[in-house]
């Protein structure tokens, strides 16, 4: 059998991901995580001195804390298998990427293992977040200087 012929066969046999099912699951899991986030920020606004503007930070930190517990107990990967992007896209997914790498590489020690591998999976998010922020701000600055837009 030739390569091309085999690739055709492979296309036939391999099931397509269940798009609709995955989308519905991602929507619900992601939605629920964000709703919990909303409840957490309401909690911070009600009981602490945080405004809608400033409640974002403690909310995100709390969500990452939840992610740590779920990751450590081995539950987050099950949520991940079910929810797909629904659990990967919220900040809890970012937390899961960092925390799971930290737990995994503990066996190589805290300096070389945990320290060196903490951002093994999530590093790209930090990289592209910071770099894109830099360029977006730069472009905006240039546009403002040229008088095309205002801040």
């Amino acid at each position: 059998m030739e390569k091309e012929q085999y690739q055709q066969l492979e296309q036939q046999v391999t099931p397509k991901p269940p798009y609709l099912k995955n989308i519905v699951k991602a929507f619900f899991v992601g939605g629920i995580i964000c709703t919990i986030g909303q409840a957490v920020s309401l909690f911070y606004m009600t009981f602490f001195n945080f405004t809608e503007q400033t409640a974002g930070n403690p909310t995100v930190a709390t969500m990452v804390f939840f992610a740590m517990i779920l990751t450590g107990l081995g539950l987050y990967k099950k949520i991940g298998q079910f929810g797909g992007a629904g659990s990967a896209v919220p900040v809890t997914g970012f937390g899961n990427a960092v925390i799971s790498a930290a737990i995994e590489h503990k066996s190589e020690g805290y300096v070389l293992g945990v320290g060196g591998n903490l951002f093994k999976l999530a590093g790209s998010v930090v990289l592209f977040g910071v770099v894109s922020a830099f360029f977006v701000a730069l472009i905006k600055y240039i546009l403002v200087t040229l008088g095309v837009v205002s801040w």
Binding site: F28, I32, T35, A39, L42, M45, T46, N49, F50, T51, E52, Q53, T54, A55, G56, N57
Partner: protein, 134 residues
């Protein structure tokens, strides 16, 4: 489908919890002399869902909750309202906030029955809180 049931249950319980807080939608607390006028001014603005105004002396704190569908314009509406009040009460020190926290605290001022100087202090405090950056 079990998951769907849980979601519906969650939404239902949230609605019950949050459903109890609505009572009076337009509240003015502190000096009552311009209460009706203020209410009329705020009712003019159709994007305002609920509002609580607390005032003492020349200080006035206007807290509003914007209707959900208009919320994305929050920053602009806040500014617009601030301008309107500045023009209406040029001799008063007015601060407008659409933040939930400030609204919540303003209601608490009424609930706790703060008086006179206490109100002024609270307004000053909340103004500072509202101006904090993320």
């Amino acid at each position: 489908m079990k998951k769907l049931q849980t979601v519906l249950l969650l939404l239902l319980s949230i609605s019950i919890i949050s459903g109890c807080t609505d009572k009076e939608k337009f509240i003015v607390y502190g000096s009552p002399q311009n209460e009706e006028e203020l209410k009329a001014v705020l009712k003019e603005e159709d994007y305002v869902e609920k509002t609580t105004v607390i005032q003492h002396d020349d200080k006035m704190l206007v807290t509003v909750q914007i209707k959900p569908w208009d919320k994305w314009k929050k920053a602009k509406l806040e500014k617009k309202l601030q301008k309107k009040f500045d023009e209406l009460y040029p001799d008063k020190e007015v601060f407008v906030s659409a933040d939930y926290k400030i609204y919540y605290e303003a209601n608490k001022v009424k609930k706790d029955g703060l008086e006179d100087e206490e109100i002024s202090d609270k307004i000053k405090e909340l103004k500072k809180l509202a101006k904090e950056e993320a």
